[in-house]
């Protein structure tokens, strides 16, 4: 936020983003410009979990961060939030890890079918008990 910045904000042009402003990086830099994951359709609530510990040749720091995060199962949306990268970028990185066999995926019900009656009742009971 501009209001929280310590110094006065220069009023001319883009020069204000010096090193104090943090990295100004095009988000798809970390994927080498790739915008399409090598794996298909990672839903926001597809869970991903690391199946192997860090490989010596893990491609990038971002891949390593994701591997560390997914030592326990997490949904794709949460991985993106915690590594603070856009979803599309995280999908590409996760695709790399999946195809390298470093991460496994658990997909939610894949269609528009609604959950069964037992599941819905369990949700209702669970919500009431909160």
């Amino acid at each position: 936020m501009a209001a929280e910045r310590a110094g006065p904000i220069p009023d001319d042009g883009p020069a204000w983003w010096d090193h104090e402003a943090g990295p100004v990086v095009r988000p798809y830099m970390v994927t080498g410009g790739r915008v399409e994951p090598v794996t298909a359709d990672l839903d926001l609530i597809t869970h991903v979990v690391a199946v192997r510990t860090l490989a010596a040749d893990t491609p990038s720091p971002e891949h390593q961060t994701i591997l560390a995060l997914t030592q326990e199962p997490r949904p794709v949306a949460e991985v993106a939030a915690r590594v603070d990268l856009p979803l599309g970028v995280v999908r590409v990185l996760l695709g790399d890890l999946l195809s390298a066999g470093l991460v496994a995926r658990y997909d939610p019900p894949s269609t528009d079918d609604l959950p069964n009656i037992e599941t819905l009742q369990a949700v209702i009971h669970g919500l009431r008990a909160l």
């Binding site: 199946v51 856009p86 669970g126």
Partner: protein, 195 residues
């Protein structure tokens, strides 16, 4: 397929969408019931990617970021609910398609001062066949409409639940979610009878 550690199987995940106009209280609602502070995930959008017939030059591409806030409710060790606050603007509909796929249902959070802001979401879920309820967020008890007046103003089908709520209040939001899941249950039961 990938080999999987047997002890790492995650719970079944369900998602519920919280839609509504800007400032309707979506993130507040998610935060009121989430067991974690709402997390924010972002997607980068380029206008050029939204229109395949786009003939404008590279210099005209606009990049913007859409934020979605989400929270989590653990129902049981093997069942987890995720609540996604969805960007309200029409121009993000393509993102809604992804969000709505596999969703259990949606809460359309309406602000009576700007009821028209919820038209887009209502239209979208009606057309898509996603079960939804309309929750009217009452800011500081300044509610001057009844739920039936809201129903009429929004031209809702009789079977769509409409209820008043306080998006800041955990019990109130719980009630909204229970109403939604009960509404879904009615639909699933009806489908089972018909099938």
């Amino acid at each position: 397929m990938d080999s999987v550690r047997s002890d790492a199987a995650p719970p079944q995940a369900l998602k519920i969408l919280v839609a509504g106009g800007f400032g309707a209280g979506k993130t507040t609602m998610v935060g009121a019931v989430s067991e974690i502070s709402p997390l924010r995930t972002e997607e980068v959008l380029t206008t050029a990617g939204m229109d395949t017939d786009d003939t404008t030059g590279v210099q005209d591409k606009l990049t913007t970021t859409v934020a979605m806030d989400f929270g989590r409710i653990t129902i049981s060790p093997n069942l987890v609910l995720y609540l996604f606050g969805t960007p309200g603007q029409n121009r993000f509909w393509f993102l809604w398609d992804e969000l709505a796929t596999g969703a259990l249902g949606a809460v359309v959070l309406a602000d009576t001062r700007r009821l028209a802001d919820s038209f887009a979401a209502i239209d979208y879920f009606e057309q898509r066949g996603t079960p939804f309820v309309v929750a009217v967020n009452c800011f500081d008890s300044e509610q001057s409409y009844t739920d039936s007046q809201v129903r009429e103003a929004l031209d809702l089908d009789a079977y769509v639940p409409v209820l008043l709520c306080d998006a800041r209040d955990r019990d109130s939001v719980k009630h909204v979610l229970i109403t939604l899941v009960e509404h879904v249950l009615v639909k699933v039961r009806a489908n089972a009878m018909a099938g």
